[in-house]
């Protein structure tokens, strides 16, 4: 194990953990704001109870998120110092701007938690809005930096637009699926109530809308890749030969000669998706030197992601369908929904893995290799092997904390629905 590999592993572990917290810290306040607004307008005690549960979850998650985010910043400043030094200062400044967003989120979250039950629902809703705005603001500026890493031709490019919109929407989606999983669990284990069924239906309707938006944004992101990150697209699709009539390949692999083999081949479909014509030229891997190809795993991760998207779309449609027909869900389906609660998170992780691994071997696409971005002279092997244990402990303690606040919520709120 060399230092660069371990340094990559360390930041990779940190990001894998941190993104889970980030997406829930953005998505859950978003849902919390919507539900609190509805609770205020409809004077609904039950919705207020759900809001209080969400706020307790967010309070737990933000602690883990703040720490894991700080860990990443600390790693950037030491282990990836050459990368920071080489960054365009116009992009680097966004790290400092993120600090402001973070302050807004943290201060208003603290005030929100302390003022619960001490001010009117309407005012409390207004106090809650900056939490989501601050969290989103943080995510926007950090994603802008990542978009620049993928396409360093400008500060705000088409890559910025599609990457930011696609990722933020996916966080809302993942949090909605997570909530659906919890409500399904409540219906299965606690009580089958009209309120909970309607809540599940509302969440699934929101998930359907978000899925539609994500499909459009995902498609536009992929089309943008064809012009701004063709190397990444070529590996995502294991498209080996530049030219028109580029096929879409589901499954398959690249052989030792770099030729795509196997899988289900749909002739011309990739060209059509990129440019609405099978005559559209799509750059293949043959346009790039072999030592700059990303890892083949990017293709398989993408195929897995698409398969999961198909399944979760079916689950969402079935949830809506069951409610419309019978006003409730079968028990077997509730159990499946509970297990699906984490699928949105998995999709986000897969998406980020594809984005980041698809840029390799570059840290800054076309400009700086990962090997050159790492600080020479720091022995990080031992630290990188041991430190992830702390992440595992934090995951376990965070999980227990979430369980505790949920149990306390049931007891304190005397949930009857």
């Amino acid at each position: 194990m060399d230092n660069i590999a371990m340094g990559r592993a360390l930041i990779g572990d940190s990001l894998i953990f941190h993104i889970i917290i980030v997406l829930l810290s953005i998505g859950l306040p978003f849902i919390m704001n919507i539900l609190e607004y509805l609770a205020w307008r409809r004077k609904s005690q039950k919705l207020e109870q759900v809001v209080r549960l969400l706020s307790r979850w967010v309070a737990v998650l933000v602690v883990a998120g703040v720490m894991s985010g700080t860990i990443i910043a600390l790693q950037f400043s030491t282990l990836w110092a050459p990368f920071l030094a080489q960054m365009d200062p116009e992009i680097r400044k966004y790290f400092a701007i993120e600090g402001y967003m973070f302050l807004i989120e943290a201060v208003f979250l603290s005030w929100y938690l302390l003022s619960q039950g001490k001010m009117s629902t309407g005012k409390h809703f207004l106090v809650g809005l900056p939490i989501t705005l601050g969290a989103m603001g943080s995510a926007v500026v950090i994603t802008m930096i990542n978009a620049w890493m993928n396409n360093p031709t400008g500060i705000v490019t088409s890559t910025t637009v599609w990457e930011v919109t696609h990722s933020i929407t996916s966080y809302f989606f993942a949090a909605t699926i997570f909530m659906m999983g919890f409500v399904a669990w409540h219906l299965w284990k606690r009580k089958n109530s009209k309120f909970a069924q309607k809540l599940l239906f509302s969440l699934s309707s929101l998930a359907l809308v978000l899925m539609g938006v994500l499909a459009l944004l995902g498609h536009r992101s992929a089309v943008d890749l064809a012009t701004t990150q063709p190397r990444k697209l070529a590996m995502i699709e294991i498209h080996d030969k530049t030219g028109p009539n580029a096929p879409l390949r589901i499954g398959g692999y690249l052989d030792e000669n770099g030729t795509a083999q196997g899988g289900i081949v749909l002739p011309g479909l990739l060209s059509f998706l990129v440019g609405f014509s099978t005559d559209t030229h799509v750059k293949g891997l043959d346009s790039f030197s072999r030592d700059t190809w990303p890892m083949q795993i990017v293709h398989w991760l993408f195929d897995i992601k698409m398969a999961i998207i198909g399944l979760i779309s079916l689950m969402i449609i079935l949830t809506i369908g069951f409610y419309v027909r019978t006003k409730k869900q079968p028990t077997w389906f509730l159990k499946v929904l509970v297990w699906c609660g984490g699928v949105g998170i998995l999709l986000v992780e897969l998406g980020w893995a594809i984005t980041e691994l698809g840029r390799q071997p570059y840290a800054i696409a076309g400009q700086m290799l990962v090997a050159d971005a790492f600080t020479k002279g720091i022995d990080v092997v031992g630290f990188a092997l041991i430190f992830p244990i702390l992440f595992i402990i934090l995951i376990i303690t965070t999980g227990f904390a979430l369980r505790t606040v949920t149990k306390q919520w049931y007891k304190k709120e005397k949930i009857t629905w």
Partner: protein, 177 residues
């Protein structure tokens, strides 16, 4: 402009250190009681995050304005940073165990760990500052000030927005309504 940059870094650090001292005292109290209770409990729950975020803001500003010197100090800076990373992660774990445990009393080990992270953080911060200051003085390093105006404008725009909520958080957290 250089003075402005250092003000944007040092003022939040001073704010953080004041409340850091109080939170360390809270950690000592938690050790005696083995369970979060009393006035210090809601204070730490609500304000620890604000205090920490203020430090993160200062660090982000430092990182952005001193990026060109980081490759030169990274090797010496990594040990205190590694210590700080461990301290923060252990603190997060201990925080979850202390403040969200279903047990009436919590294992002393968590209390000791929680306190140790404050000591670790202090050692790491002092060590890191010494490394950085030494480099700045020896090389006569000047930070990047090209965005000082923007950062200052951000502070002018954002801080008034935060004054009232911050006041309410610390007031309620300290047990005064």
């Amino acid at each position: 402009m250089v003075a402005l940059i250092y003000a944007l870094i040092l003022v939040p650090v001073i704010f953080h250190l004041i409340f850091f001292g109080y939170e360390t005292w809270v950690a000592l109290r938690l050790l005696r009681t083995s369970k979060s209770s009393g006035k210090s409990y809601p204070y730490t729950l609500a304000t620890a995050e604000v205090s920490h975020t203020v430090l993160v803001y200062a660090f982000a500003t430092f990182m952005t304005t001193h990026a060109t010197m980081l490759p030169d100090v990274a090797t010496k800076l990594f040990p205190p940073i590694a210590l700080l990373m461990v301290a923060l992660m252990v603190r997060a774990c201990a925080y979850m165990a202390l403040f969200y445990s279903e047990q009436k009393t919590v294992a002393k080990a968590w209390g000791y760990s929680f306190l140790a992270t404050y000591i670790g953080q202090l050692v790491a911060l002092v060590w890191g500052v010494v490394v950085v200051l030494n480099h700045i003085i020896v090389t006569n390093y000047t930070p990047d000030t090209q965005h000082a105006g923007l950062f200052a404008a951000g502070a002018v725009l954002v801080l008034p927005f935060l004054i009232y909520p911050t006041y309410r958080v610390y007031r309620v957290g300290l047990g005064r309504k």
